[in-house]
């Protein structure tokens, strides 16, 4: 028997089907921040959760970040186009091309790439600073799920002069569980219609 470590079979990792992804996208698109505010204690816990999440990502502690994802995760960064205001087509749609449209299994593949030790463009590593702000939390019809809106600034720097700054907005459904808060759905919207950096080697 070989002693080489078995490579993960990502086809067995958690994945939602397309109908569930569409339903998740519809829910995220409908989150308008008009519901009853979450209790202050919940809001404080969520602020703390986001600060830790950002710190884990900055430190490339990917496995610990992965543990914050619910098994039915829908993780979505839709594309933005410049459209006239009179244009009646939906600006963001789960049927459109996207920058992320992921189940938890897809996130595992991305982490598999980063931890392969063969991604030469991340060696020496990129340095990240991820700032989260404007956190607003609202109750939802499900007792342990909260609608959370936030903004972010993500600074990346590598090599000598190579830097990328991305700002954006996030809409999350966070689920309170016996493992703490979990990210069940996340929509990330970048204001850039043309991504002014060469890649998105990062999580948001």
């Amino acid at each position: 028997m070989s002693t080489a470590p078995e490579k993960p079979d990502y086809s067995t990792y958690p994945r939602i089907d397309r109908a569930a992804a569409r339903a998740a996208a519809a829910q995220l698109l409908g989150l308008s921040g008009d519901g009853p505010p979450a209790p202050d204690a919940v809001w404080r816990d969520i602020e703390r959760f986001y600060a830790r999440e950002a710190r884990l990502l900055d430190a490339e502690r990917h496995d610990e970040w992965y543990a914050l994802l619910a098994d039915d995760l829908f993780y979505w960064m839709p594309l933005t186009e410049n459209r006239f205001r009179r244009d009646r087509r939906p600006t963001l749609s789960p049927e459109h091309m996207a920058l992320f449209d992921d189940s938890k299994a897809d996130i595992a593949v991305r982490i598999g790439r980063l931890t392969s030790n063969m991604v030469w463009t991340e060696d020496p590593p990129t340095r990240h600073v991820y700032c989260i702000g404007n956190v607003e939390a609202f109750a939802t019809p499900i007792a342990d799920e909260f609608e959370v809106h936030s903004t972010f600034a993500q600074y990346r720097n590598r090599s000598d002069h190579d830097e990328a700054v991305l700002f954006g907005r996030r809409r999350d459904i966070l689920r309170r569980s016996d493992r703490g808060y979990l990210i069940a759905r996340r929509m990330i919207v970048l204001p850039q219609a043309v991504l002014l950096t060469k890649n998105l080697t990062a999580f948001f």
Partner: protein
């Protein structure tokens, strides 16, 4: 020995030595060479501007670029596709700021000059102010139109009235293009949602050269990206048996005969199952050689800056934005007849591999940026780069049009790309630019 510290040569041909397999690094840096490219390469070439599926109905439009010239691509009321400059002839302002949409006219924000779907000037506020101007005619002040032609859904345009036809420009490359454009009845379409666009600080020729023939880089650059999806299956495997470099008029395609080699790296078994289910029908339609190209380990560039990857079906332009800046505009192309669920799998599969967040594309950009940036160095810039790999000889086969070399691990297509580039750079007119004879008059049977 390899230093080339001499005055800049007068001819582009002196920057490219196809026989020795060297290319002068100044062509990836020099602003004067870049300006000459806009005049001689981008102005003269048929450039990809849209897929017909993006502008199916009268009034639909997209905006894009031809070289650095902003253009509008609009479907007219007569169903014709019109391509014209996106710059008002009055004071020069950009006319249309949307990426896509539906409109009856394009009205300049500055003074309200309004243009039709054919680019003609239709009206402006207080037209009477021009009544006293001797010889003023509305028809003299439309948006400058380009010639337009299509090949199986792909829309190309050129501003050069002396350029040969699109069919002559593509030549026998059309026969190979059918391996991605004509695999099913009903033609192809771009998946919805517009272009995925991103900026890379590199010279536009590095990505074009990468797609025209460089599978070699995948064996090293993409080791990390292919590890999670292919690692269980032995990593990236590329051989020079059963694989080829194909070149026609500087357009180039490197491929093997694996049918599913590229597609497999998307890690979606349902996609592979579907593609296998179509193999017999596509082979009957296109013959074995071209059917095997459909999802193979392969990449291609339509000269100068329109590239695609069989298997993932990402199609992209490398828009020049100065000698050291390139904007990638990318779409995913599928047969219209494909089931919706499979189309959606390609949408996600191409996104997860070849988009700015794709596990393979993310490996590429930094290579091209630093291949460009290093030429800031005076001594560095006066070196030549090595395009000498020539493991397989030329294949002369009546079955395979164009210049075909054995083996996809090769620089053959790249040398022919740069030879074409130099030929267009140095030509005084289209009379000095060669075109390969067309041997497949009807590309598709």
């Amino acid at each position: 020995m390899r230093d080339n510290i001499v005055a800049d040569p007068a001819r582009a041909a002196d920057y490219v030595n196809a026989a020795a397999g060297t290319v002068d690094r100044r062509i990836f840096w020099d602003p004067a060479i870049y300006q000459q490219e806009l005049r001689t390469v981008f102005y003269r070439s048929w450039l990809f501007v849209a897929h017909e599926s993006q502008i199916e109905n009268a009034g639909q439009f997209v905006t894009t670029y031809m070289g650095e010239d902003a253009v509008i691509v609009a479907r007219g009321d007569d169903a014709a596709i019109n391509v014209f400059l996106n710059s008002c002839p009055h004071r020069g302002n950009r006319v249309c700021f949307a990426d896509s949409g539906h409109s009856r006219s394009f009205v300049c924000n500055y003074h309200g000059w309004a243009f039709g779907l054919d680019g003609d000037l239709k009206k402006m506020p207080k037209l009477g102010l021009y009544k006293a101007t001797p010889g003023f005619r509305m028809e003299d002040w439309g948006l400058r139109r380009a010639r337009v032609a299509t090949y199986k859904g792909l829309v190309f345009a050129t501003f050069d009235e002396t350029a040969p036809s699109l069919d002559a420009w593509l030549g026998d490359f059309r026969w190979y293009l059918d391996a991605v454009l004509d695999v099913e009845d009903g033609g192809s379409e771009f998946l919805p949602g517009g272009a995925t666009r991103s900026v890379i600080n590199c010279n536009w020729k590095f990505p074009a050269d990468n797609f025209v023939g460089d599978i070699y880089h995948a064996l090293w650059t993409h080791l990390g990206g292919s590890e999670p999806t292919l690692g269980r299956h032995g990593g990236v495997i590329v051989e020079n048996t059963g694989s080829y470099h194909i070149s026609v008029n500087g357009h180039g395609w490197e491929t093997n005969d694996s049918f599913l080699g590229n597609a497999a790296t998307m890690g979606d078994r349902e996609l592979l199952r579907y593609m296998r289910s179509r193999q017999a029908a596509i082979t009957a339609r296109l013959g074995k050689f071209r059917a095997d190209m459909w999802g193979a380990v392969a990449s291609a560039t339509v000269f100068p800056n329109f590239s695609f990857l069989p298997g993932y079906f990402t199609f992209r332009t490398f828009q020049p934005k100065g000698p050291t800046r390139t904007e990638i505009h990318a779409w995913t192309l599928v047969p219209r007849a494909m089931p919706d669920d499979i189309k959606d799998r390609f949408r996600r599969g191409s996104m997860r591999t070849f988009s700015p967040s794709g596990i393979l594309e993310m490996d590429d950009g930094e290579n091209w940026e630093h291949s460009t940036r290093a030429n800031a160095g005076y001594v560095t810039r006066h070196q030549t780069l090595c395009y000498a790999m020539a493991p397989g000889g030329r294949i002369d086969s009546a079955d395979l049009p164009g210049i075909v070399h054995q083996g996809q691990l090769s620089d053959a297509n790249q040398r022919l790309f740069y030879r074409r580039w130099a030929e267009m750079m140095d030509a005084a007119s289209w009379d000095d630019i060669s075109l390969a004879p067309v041997t497949r008059a009807e590309a598709a049977e």
